[in-house]
């Protein structure tokens, strides 16, 4: 039985998660094994990893051996993989204790973390009200962003200090901004994707949520490095990232680019002024120099992202036929159903609307007569955008870009239910880093007038993750962000 008496890190995390069930952070908990593991490793000789004994949460699209890995989809509601993903295994090896699998958008498609098991609620909503019943909760609770909303909410509310997410078009950075924590998307190819249920192979990047940058560095250092199971991993040997205390104290002036193309109409006045204010604030320190920059191919980024991601999604989703694992329809008419009709029923019953919409779009783009027109053209756009960024960093000597992540405060769950967006405007702030494979960090800056965190994003050169995080340390040391901590109120 779960005992409430012992004071342990894992116990506190469990208590907080259970207390705030209304946030719907988990799809599946590992409480008992987590407590057992904590017991076991506390008696072992403590290794010197800063992660040792830390309770963590992992997004429910990372495979964990014999543990439900649902991707918040009915399709995988009963799927227990027979293997563990590379990065999760490495975290376990460093002494991390997995407390649960976090809720998300179905197959990580979306920005509300609202899959087959209901929405994740934004923990900041609870600073204003306490939801009582399900009906009213929808009007007082807000979306947590997505798709890694469960992980972001748990870290934002301080249930755990580190959580794992995945970022395909902003799925770490968007909810991090919504929930008021750091969200780090490393360079494509820095961390192994083996065991991360694929959304878009060429965009997917595993990453982390944390409440300080050092924790992001510890986690990244624990999991990076070669992995024979992922052929797309960078072949360069990984050099461990340095924390703030380890890195040199040399204060070179940082040149930061401000891309005009990110100042879109949808960006709210309040969020724009947060961006501008930080620029002024940093300029005044004398350590930062700002330059306005252009990304010529930015207008085509969203279209290219939509086409490329839909195409890969259609392809990746083809494996879900219900034969070897996953949902299999019970509605079979043995007298006339063929393989195709059973397949269709299985998929219709278990895929949500958004997933089916993207599969349909992707298959359209991949038709022989469309491939050149859409897919190949989008690949060109993708290369052009990567090239735009490369030029900024290499030729214009920009150290990183500072941009918004989301355009306004989160809407309520009820409002979200009314809307029928499949791709949101907010994707526009985040997809470039995925198109170009660049490292990017979403960090909290201040609280909005309605009491929600406002985050901003920095984007750095490819494989310069160390430099990017060092810059983030320097930026964030210039102000104090009031992190939310719901765990103390349990």
């Amino acid at each position: 039985m779960l005992s409430n008496k012992t004071s342990s890190a894992v116990r506190s995390a469990i208590n907080a998660i259970q207390h705030y069930k209304v946030l719907n952070i988990l799809t599946h908990d590992c409480f008992e094994t987590a407590l057992e593991t904590e017991q076991k490793i506390s008696t072992e000789k403590k290794n010197d990893s800063p992660l040792h004994g830390r309770p963590i949460l992992i997004k429910d699209n990372f495979c964990l051996r014999d543990t439900l890995t649902t991707c918040a989809s009915k399709m995988l509601a009963n799927f227990r993989p027979p293997y563990t993903s590379t990065i999760v295994q490495r975290l376990i090896d460093h002494g991390c204790i997995i407390v649960g699998k976090t809720n998300m958008d179905e197959f990580a498609m979306g920005t509300a973390s609202w899959g087959a098991f209901g929405p994740v609620a934004n923990p900041w909503s609870l600073t204003k009200t306490m939801a009582t019943n399900e009906e009213t909760s929808k009007t007082v609770l807000h979306i947590a962003g997505g798709s890694s909303g469960g992980s972001a909410a748990a870290v934002g509310a301080n249930f755990v200090s580190i959580a794992v997410g995945s970022d395909t078009g902003g799925s770490i950075r968007n909810p991090a901004a919504r929930c008021g924590c750091y969200g780090f998307k490393p360079s494509y190819g820095l961390l192994s994707r083996h065991g991360l249920v694929t959304l878009v192979n060429s965009f997917d990047a595993p990453g982390f949520f944390a409440r300080n940058i050092d924790d992001l560095i510890y986690a990244t250092n624990a999991v990076a490095g070669s992995d024979g199971a992922d052929a797309t991993l960078s072949s360069k040997p990984f050099q461990a990232l340095k924390t703030s205390s380890e890195s040199s104290k040399e204060k070179k002036r940082i040149v930061i680019g401000l891309p005009d193309d990110y100042d879109i109409r949808a960006l709210s006045t309040e969020y724009r002024s947060c961006w501008q204010d930080l620029v002024h604030q940093l300029t005044e320190t004398g350590e930062f120099l700002f330059r306005r920059v252009q990304i010529p191919h930015k207008p085509y980024a969203n279209a290219a992202y939509t086409i490329l991601s839909s195409s890969e999604i259609a392809s990746n989703m083809a494996r879900y036929d219900g034969i070897r694992y996953g949902h299999h329809t019970k509605n079979i008419d043995e007298s006339k159903d063929t393989y195709e009709t059973i397949l269709k029923k299985t998929r219709d019953e278990s895929f949500g609307e958004r997933v089916r919409g993207r599969i349909l779009a992707g298959n359209y783009y991949l038709l022989e007569e469309n491939y050149e027109k859409y897919f190949v053209q989008s690949q060109r756009v993708r290369r052009a955008i990567a090239n735009d960024y490369r030029k900024l960093f290499e030729e214009d000597k920009i150290d990183c870009l500072l941009t918004p992540v989301v355009s306004d405060d989160p809407i309520t769950l009820a409002e979200y239910e009314q809307s029928n967006e499949i791709f949101s405007d907010n994707d526009g702030f985040t997809v470039d880093a995925n198109l170009a494979g660049l490292p990017a960090l979403s960090f909290p800056v201040r609280i909005s007038s309605k009491g929600f965190p406002i985050g901003l994003q920095i984007i750095g050169p490819f494989m310069q993750d160390q430099a990017l995080l060092s810059i983030a340390q320097r930026i964030c040391s210039t102000y104090h962000f009031p992190f939310l901590d719901l765990s103390t109120q349990v």
């Binding site: 990372f62 034969i323 070897r324 298959n363 022989e368």
Partner: protein
């Protein structure tokens, strides 16, 4: 029947056929193409399956370089241009034994393209001489060499296997084969008849085996062939219409399917209809092709670059740029290649030129005997013995192996050393030419390949009668028993001798030597294996004995 009809269509001068192949070759690698799973055949169902092989979510492919090395060997053997950068693509279609819903292949950017492959036409000796079509045999030392251009070679993986259980009303799936490495060789439509097609495939098969690209020629597993066949009126240009015959499993099937299709298309064209683009399958029981689907029903495979695999890079000695160590060097592979079948045959002709002609070798090839021939040759000490062996192969063994169709079984039952031993015994007159055939048949039926020649000879008492006195007695006795023949000898000596032969042979089951029987006609013919067609065709040894008998 179909063969004659097809040949008639082509020789009528009114039509010409264009045939191209897509050949799937199962690579002889120990592990699969994109996973560490074993690729051994015939293992317990679903015992060789990794997460990637069953397309578990989150699993990723990792390329097995042994497949690429095998592919490069094939590309070199087929004289292809090797592309130093190539890409993998996904080919999408739903089928229960294709777990990921797509196959990883190289549709648009294959690693090898634009090759050309020369192959000897396996035409019968007499046809070779009489044929006007193949006049270009330049010297007796050479073959009728034809060539076929190779469009491309691509790497891809195999699917699993569906087992349909009709009584239980279900389909079972075995994923052991899923993910094993294949190369697909796509030819240009340069083949013009079923004979050319079969000749091409056999030479290709020899190359693939020689270069260690695939295992055995147990065609059922190593090669699967799709044939594109189109017949055109002589006065028209090819219009791209063609019929694809899927999944042919043997050379014989390929030949028969092509012949059937040529005849079928001739009937369509003769009725002034046109050939529709369609996919057909070959029914090996009914010996005919059967409609599968029309062009309009063709699946759009929605090809897409495989995003989980980086481009495939190859390099050679000329590349100054230092690649990673585990990349494949084309020149290194080239240096390690064994001699090609074509070159090997040139060497053989040179080595055995005292008795072996190109025609002989062509016949050996046609009978699929050349490997066995070479093995036997190396077991024999001199050209005299080798020459005897060659003639025995082209006569007795040809007949025993049903024109080479069962040569593999024969080669297994009668090891080259046993065969060489038999030839030695024939030369030493311990075995007669008559009993040789019987002996080979017995050996062929024997399953214990370690059995010695002596045990055969002992068991069946097949030692020749070499004692002259004994032979004289036999002959005298034969004369006594056949007084009619003595009378006949005066009018028709040839016939009388033949009859006496027959009676002696019948009585002594081939124990006496031919020349010994002829002894009583005071004649000592030398047995020339070149000319003597002394193959007895049945057990009682009453074969033709056309030795010179005055």
């Amino acid at each position: 029947m179909a063969a004659a009809a097809a040949a008639a269509v082509l020789s009528s001068g009114r039509f010409y056929a264009l045939i191209g192949f897509e050949i799937h070759v199962k690579l002889a690698t120990t592990t699969k193409m994109f996973s560490s799973s074993s690729s051994a055949p015939a293992q317990a169902t679903n015992s060789q399956v990794t997460p990637h092989d069953m397309a578990l979510p989150g699993s990723m492919p990792y390329f097995n370089r042994a497949c690429l090395e095998a592919g490069v060997r094939a590309a070199l053997g087929l004289n292809c241009q090797i592309n130093k950068a190539s890409h993998f693509e996904r080919k999408h279609y739903f089928y229960p034994d294709s777990p990921s819903g797509y196959q990883i292949t190289q549709q648009r950017f294959p690693f090898a393209s634009n090759g050309v492959f020369k192959y000897p036409l396996l035409v019968k000796r007499d046809k070779l001489k009489s044929s006007t079509k193949y006049k270009f045999v330049d010297t007796p030392k050479s073959f009728v060499l034809k060539q076929c251009r190779i469009e491309r070679i691509q790497l891809e993986h195999d699917t699993g296997r569906s087992i349909h259980d009709e009584p239980q009303h279900c389909t079972l799936i075995d994923l052991n084969r899923c993910g094993t490495g294949l190369i697909e060789i796509v030819t240009k439509p340069d083949i013009q008849s079923s004979l050319e097609g079969e000749s091409f495939l056999r030479e290709l098969n020899r190359l693939l085996l020689k270069y260690g690209i695939c295992e055995t020629s147990g065609l059922e597993t190593a090669l699967r062939i799709d044939a594109n066949v189109s017949l055109h009126r002589t006065d028209t240009k090819p219009d791209g219409s063609r019929v694809e015959i899927k999944n042919l499993g043997s050379f014989i099937d390929v030949r028969q399917a092509i012949d059937f299709e040529i005849k079928r298309q001739e009937q369509i064209l003769s009725a002034n209809s046109s050939i529709e683009k369609e996919t057909r399958t070959y029914d090996t029981n009914k010996h005919q092709t059967i409609h599968l689907r029309r062009k309009e029903d063709q699946i759009d495979y929605r090809f897409m670059i495989e995003p989980n695999l980086p481009p495939l890079y190859l390099y050679d000695d000329s590349d100054k740029h230092k690649y990673q160590k585990d990349l494949v060097n084309i020149d290194e592979i080239k240096r390690d290649l064994p001699i090609s079948p074509l070159e090997e045959r040139k060497e053989i002709l040179e080595k055995y030129k005292d008795f072996l002609t190109a025609e002989h070798l062509n016949e050996l090839l046609r009978l699929d005997m050349n490997d066995y021939f070479c093995d036997v040759m190396s077991q024999l000490d001199n050209n005299h013995l080798r020459h005897i062996a060659l003639e025995v192969l082209l006569n007795d063994v040809k007949s025993i192996s049903f024109d080479g169709r069962k040569i593999r079984k024969f080669a297994q039952a009668v090891s080259p050393s046993l065969f060489a031993d038999i030839i030695n015994h024939v030369d030493q007159r311990i075995i007669t030419r008559f009993s040789l055939y019987t002996l080979l048949t017995l050996c062929n039926k024997n399953r214990d390949s370690t059995r010695t020649l002596k045990s055969f000879l002992d068991e069946h008492n097949m030692y020749a009668i070499n004692d002259q006195n004994q032979m004289e007695q036999i002959c005298s006795k034969a004369l006594e028993e056949n007084p009619k023949q003595i009378v006949r000898y005066q009018t028709n000596p040839k016939k009388a001798i033949e009859q006496l032969h027959a009676s002696v042979c019948k009585k002594y089951h081939g124990h006496p030597h031919v020349y010994s029987i002829l002894f009583f006609s005071n004649d000592f013919p030398t047995i020339s294996f070149d000319e003597a067609n002394t193959t007895p065709t049945n057990h009682d040894g009453s074969g033709s004995t056309k030795t010179n008998t005055n």
